[in-house]
Amino acid sequence: MSIKVLIPTPLRPYAGKQSVIEVTAQTVGEALSDVVAKHPDLRKHLFSEDGKLRSFVNVYLNDEDIRYLNKDATPVKETDTVTIVPSVAGGR
């Protein structure tokens, strides 16, 4: 299944400056693994050393947080969009 993963601005430097990465995956977890395999520099920004998604990074399948779906195992279908939403503090 070919789906889109949207990369937010703060993480684009670690993703070859791309805003969208097309991956082939059956689940959200596979999609993220594929993204990290293509752009290894992203790994430490998305996952902690024990391989868990970092708590200041949220992953959405379309408009829903995967924490409230089936997390990594959430299945994806063609036309789905996975969005990485990191916390951003700037305001001044």
């Binding site: 200041f56 939403v85 700037g90 305001g91 001044r92």
Partner: protein, 390 residues
């Protein structure tokens, strides 16, 4: 101002009726709504990028009591986006500058000033005098502090944050809605997420997001429309795309969940890694440094020193000291351009990125790499004052 205090907050003077006439004739506001605005007390945390449009529009709209929290002083780099402050205000307290403009726009608004750094010690007392809090700060420690204080005080937190040309906005800590910690239980470790000071921000972006915050504050006061509760608005100004994601109240949230573990305010600087603020933490002590004066003396003596600049090409264009340019992110793939037998002095803008570069180089066998203390900014201050700073 004397005439204002004589007016009952529940009524509008003829002058106010004329001023707010475009509100009064709208079915969504009317006289009743305008009275609600006048009776409302809103606290703006920060009078910078987000705080400027927020305070300007809330003041113009006739919010009766506006609190402003800021301890900062206006500097030149603020003027590109912080439209409350003028060139002539550089060096003044942002609060003084802000209050001048806001009272000039609408003398009917009562402004309460808090010339302080918001902390666990003072936040509950400060927000206690307000109905709605609008968070326009710039660091994770204050973001979590404001969130937790809002949850504990049961006050809505109208939120926005920005980076480069992207922004996020939502309303947290309402009775039934999620809080910031439902969305992000923990802050990133210091240094992993770049700040505006480091990454830059499009000047109009805080304008866009701050106006969204002001809109949501006004809607909450009026009880009109669909507030941005349980929704995270993502704004990409470059693509000019607005997206909306669902934010659920997390039953296991440490602050607003069913069994909260955080029942009082904590030490947020510690929670966010001492300084989860605009700048990154200082380089670790093991990274050897060289002072600008010493580098200057040794370069003048024609010593064989290789100067490496790890900033981005667009920064190099602004100002450089003729160093060899390899952006930090490219260093691993371009390290072969360097000679490990050479003494290498690495610099960036202020010394943070170059510290990382020196750490990387030394681990890669470049044992003679040192970091220029304070970066090109220190060079411009202490060696060559003709250079521009940015």
């Amino acid at each position: 101002m004397a005439t204002l205090t004589e007016v009952n907050p529940a009524t509008l003077s003829n002058e106010e009726i004329l001023r707010y006439s475009r509100h009064l004739i709208m079915p969504e506001v009317t006289l009743e709504g305008q009275k609600k605005l006048k009776a409302a007390r809103v606290l703006c945390v920060g009078t910078g990028g987000l705080g400027s449009p927020l305070a300007l529009y809330l003041t113009a709209a006739g919010v009766g009591t506006l609190g402003l929290v800021d301890f900062d002083v206006v500097d030149y780099t603020n003027l590109q986006r912080q439209v409350l402050h003028y060139t002539s205000d550089v060096g003044r307290l942002k609060l003084d500058s802000a209050i001048d403009k806001l009272t000039a726009i609408n003398p009917f608004v009562e402004i309460k000033r808090f010339d302080t750094y918001l902390s666990s010690q003072n936040v509950l007392e400060i927000i206690g005098g307000f109905d709605i809090i609008a968070d326009g700060t710039d660091n994770f420690a204050t973001r979590y502090l404001v969130n937790d204080a809002c949850v504990l005080s049961r006050k809505p937190n109208v939120y926005a944050s920005i980076f480069r040309f992207e922004g996020q906005a939502s309303i947290f800590a309402t009775e039934a809605g999620p809080c910031y910690r439902c969305l992000y239980p923990e802050p990133p470790p210091p240094g992993l997420v770049p700040s505006c000071a480091e990454g830059g921000v499009l000047g109009v972006l805080p304008g866009l997001l701050g106006v969204i915050q002001a809109t949501e504050v006004i809607k909450l006061i009026l009880g009109a429309g669909e507030p941005l509760i349980g929704r995270l608005l993502l704004v990409d100004a470059l693509a000019m795309r607005f997206r909306e994601l669902r934010v659920r109240k997390n039953p296991e949230c440490p602050v607003c969940g069913a069994n909260p573990s955080v029942k009082e305010l904590i030490d947020y600087n510690q929670f966010c890694g001492i300084r989860g603020e605009e700048s990154e933490p200082g380089p670790s002590a093991k990274i050897p440094e060289i002072q600008p004066e010493e580098l200057k003396r040794r370069l003048d003596a024609n010593e064989d020193i290789f100067v490496l600049d790890v900033r981005e090409p667009h920064e190099y264009q602004i100002v450089n000291i003729k160093g060899h340019l390899i952006p930090l992110g490219d260093l691993p793939t371009r390290v072969h351009e360097l000679d490990s037998s050479h003494e290498i002095v690495v610099h960036c803008k202020s010394g943070m990125r170059s510290a990382k570069a020196v750490d990387f180089l030394r681990q890669s066998g470049f044992k003679r790499a040192t970091n220029l203390t304070g970066g090109i900014l220190a060079w411009a201050d202490r060696i060559d004052r003709s250079l521009p700073k940015y």
